[in-house]
Point group: C2
């Protein structure tokens, strides 16, 4: 058995059954080995950023890693932006980077580069087995590292000779560290804050945003009057009718400051102390109000839902969680805008939907319009590296074949990883992509003003303009095998969305909306 | 004047007049400043890999850097693969990476990452000015670093507060190091080898592949009987009728070994000692034959054409260069294949054309079919990171507005940076893109066999197959504003290519060709 086969058998033995791949010559033995280990499904992506983003979506939905197979340093580089998002999402993910044979590296062949330096920017764990015999054990260690709470990117650099040489040995699953229990004193200290009578906010993040954590947090809010907020860009947020609702902290620092104004105790449950996404001249970076005391109830490596449950049992023993009431959203009788499109999405979102949200400025109205929809999962742009949405939807759909996946995507962001549509078509994934096509980098139009730059003349404005030429996303989609349509009215958008949801396989709808300003 | 304005004025003052840009919030002051420094032309790209590849193409054709404006670590990451190619091409190039304000970094906001680590993998020079007053001088130093022979990637990390703060001062051009002259002893030693009567090969690379270097090398070949070869993937190779011809060292190690068999003296002029592109089980990495003596006449940092001229004056004082004869290629009357398509390209290539070649397996016949075409430049995939061609053509067309640019592109590679077509349309660049659409990663089908992997079963073959679904490149192109057509016969391909060359602006032709095996 060669190293590649040992690697694949180790992946399969540890439950890693999906590999999103964009291979090259140095990965050919890995590719050939796929036929000997049918438990691992290879899914071809036409760009590495699609493979890594898909592995992120898969890991967020299953809590278990997929593998992403990449080709040397440049292949890893192409996948880094979505690995950055995965790192910020604390997604369990195993990256396998094929490299030159070990003895070939000193010759500095054209594709040679510093893979460790690249991997280190996104991976908590990086290892390079030097011989086939070590590949299995190192793969098992990579999987365990990826699963280390709250989840992380682990990178296995696979030299071609370790891959092709005989002597490979599959390894059994390695032990995985469990989330740390939270000390009773920590829980007690948070309870004191909640009972203080002073304004409290519980800021939820990570695994707190699944139903058990949300229900415990809701009990605390009901009993103590504390307000609940969650991190601005959650990796996965369970929400909708029947689940306690929690508003996200605003993206814009001024609005977030308003949300947090007057708070005397900020209790962090799986969330970090809030900071401004960007710096702006004259505005503070930290969003913690002056005079507010921070209480770290549970960090990402901790048992966050357990800590919330313990706190609820202590401080809200008799309270019941407040479930979001269902809201039956009507299709609005008004022109198509980002706002009315959001209302249509809210009206038609099916139970169990998975929403990948990179709608940026066009997405401002989505949280409100979908709050009372049937229960669903909401996945956001955790690391701010745009080009995540279409790949993320790929992985979510592979992870959850029975569920409807929405990719709600801004036109500018869509163009970073547009080839994901081809994988949607090839795998016939149940993904409905909505492109909010406002033909501008609208968020930058706002930011140009907000950072204190002048509104700019023609040269500056031109760099935010996507209208010359306008991009025909229906042509791009059909060119890659995804049925597509363009909606200019709200009624068209609703009809096309109904059609997409009723028919198996991927669809794309280009919603022609005006910029919000 | 703020730091951004000082940066732009310094760029303009040092002759850096083009900035390929994909900006974000942290770059808004730079964008705003474009209106105050009209000497610098901002060109919007929809993905960072397009911006960096375009800057590579620009630098290869002008010998002077363009700037690429990128957004924090993830933006740089998206541009790294083409910066890797630029590094291997020794292209002068200035990367400007906007970063968070210096005081904001400690808050580890979502887009925070290790920019220096990423930049270090492709840049010989990396600097981060800490205040507006330093930005101008650091920009001048970056430009000088980029121009250091033979050319390199210099990265300036621009904190948002250094960009927006007042106190910026433009800096005059910094001194640039010149290529090193080559010592007379070194020239004399090469002359001894040439006069030895033993088989000699002169391996040309870098600046040796422009007309003066080629003419000196040709004189040496004529006088001494030495054979000329050039590196496998030259950054820029002047060739065609009237210019001395030189064959490229083959990509496949076995063929390269055949080309070099029996050589007793290998004289390196701007090229490195040849190595196999990849390692293969049982094959050596070095392509230098046993018993062959290496003579380094000139390295990339040296005055390579000057060394060749000195050697020619010493060892071939009376020889005249042998110019390539013009060849009038006929349009073949045969079905459309990669080979007949290459013959059509050879027949129609206009004088002064710039060919960006990433045709991979479909490009095997291009060097022969175009050898006797009117004089032109040939730009290749220097670093092996695919997705270079469409961006490279963008930059070459911006650099040389009067010339016809060809992007000869494989279908698999095209999908990495397909959004470059939008910039072709927006800037109305005279680029004719030919997609050799064989609907497979054909090169990997060959490599799967060559590395000694089994031919593979369905799972392996499926990962090399681009036919399910087939990609309609005419739809992708027209969706981004580039007129497009599909050629199924040789006559159609010739007619469509003639039309594209006759009409101003970008065009795309999808040539439906079978895989070569």
């Amino acid at each position: 058995m060669n190293g590649a086969q040992a690697l694949l058998r180790t992946l399969a033995g540890s439950g890693v059954n999906v590999c999103f791949a964009n291979p090259g010559t140095s990965e050919m033995h890995f590719v050939a080995a796929l036929d000997t280990v049918p438990e691992v499904r290879g899914i071809l992506c036409l760009f590495e950023g699609v493979a890594t983003g898909a592995a992120d979506g898969y890991g967020r939905m299953t809590g278990s890693p997929a593998a992403a197979l990449l080709h040397l340093g440049p292949g890893l580089a192409n996948g880094l932006a979505n690995l950055h998002n995965a790192r910020r999402a604390s997604t369990p993910l195993v990256t396998v980077v094929g490299d030159h044979a070990s003895y070939h590296k000193r010759f500095d062949a054209p594709l040679e580069s510093d893979i460790e330096a690249l991997a280190g920017t996104v991976s908590r764990w990086v290892r390079r087995p030097s011989r086939a015999a070590d590949v299995g054990a190192d793969a098992a260690a990579a999987i365990a590292a990826a699963k280390t709470p709250p989840g992380q990117v682990a990178t296995l650099i696979l030299p071609a000779d370790a891959s092709w040489s005989e002597g490979g040995q599959p390894a059994p699953p390695a032990a995985v560290r469990l989330p740390s229990p939270v000390a009773g004193e920590t829980v007690g200290s948070a309870a004191v804050a909640l009972r203080s009578g002073e304004p409290c906010v519980i800021l939820l993040g990570g695994t707190a945003l699944r139903r058990p954590g949300l229900e415990a947090a809701s009990r605390l809010a009901v009993a103590s009057g504390a307000r609940l907020l969650c991190e601005t860009f959650p990796a996965r947020h369970e929400r909708g009718a029947g689940i306690p609702a929690v508003d996200r902290l605003a993206y814009l620092a001024e609005f977030a400051a308003t949300q947090l104004a007057g708070t005397r105790h900020l209790i962090l449950a799986g969330a970090r102390a809030p900071v401004s996404f960007f710096a702006y001249p004259g505005l503070p970076s930290s969003l913690v109000p002056a005079g507010c005391e921070l209480h770290v109830l549970a960090e990402g490596t901790d048992d966050v839902p357990g800590a919330l449950a313990a706190l609820a049992d202590l401080a809200a023993p008799d309270a019941k969680p407040a479930a979001q009431q269902p809201v039956s959203q009507a299709i609005p009788d008004a022109e198509l805008t980002a706002e009315t499109a959001a209302l249509v999405v809210g009206a038609l979102l099916p139970e169990g939907a998975i929403v990948c949200d990179e709608a940026n400025t066009s997405g401002l109205w989505l949280p409100a319009s979908t709050a009372g929809a049937p229960p669903h999962d909401w996945l956001t742009l955790t690391g701010g590296a745009i080009g995540q949405c279409l790949p993320l939807a790929t992985g979510a759909a592979v992870a959850c074949p029975g569920r409807s996946v929405f990719a709600l995507e801004a036109d500018g962001s869509a163009m970073y990883t547009i080839s994901a549509l081809w994988t949607h078509a090839r795998e016939q994934l149940d993904i409905t992509t909505v492109i909010f096509s406002n033909r501008s980098y609208a968020i930058l139009g706002m930011e140009l003003d907000r950072v204190g730059a002048t509104r700019g003349g023609d040269a500056a404005r031109s760099l935010l303009d996507l209208s010359r030429p306008g991009i025909d996303f229906t042509a791009l989609a059909t060119g890659m095998g995804v049925p597509a349509s363009r909606a200019v009215t709200t009624a068209e958008f609703a009809a096309q969305l109904r059609h997409a949801l009723a028919e198996h396989g991927p669809h794309l709808i280009e919603a022609a909306v005006p910029p919000p300003w």
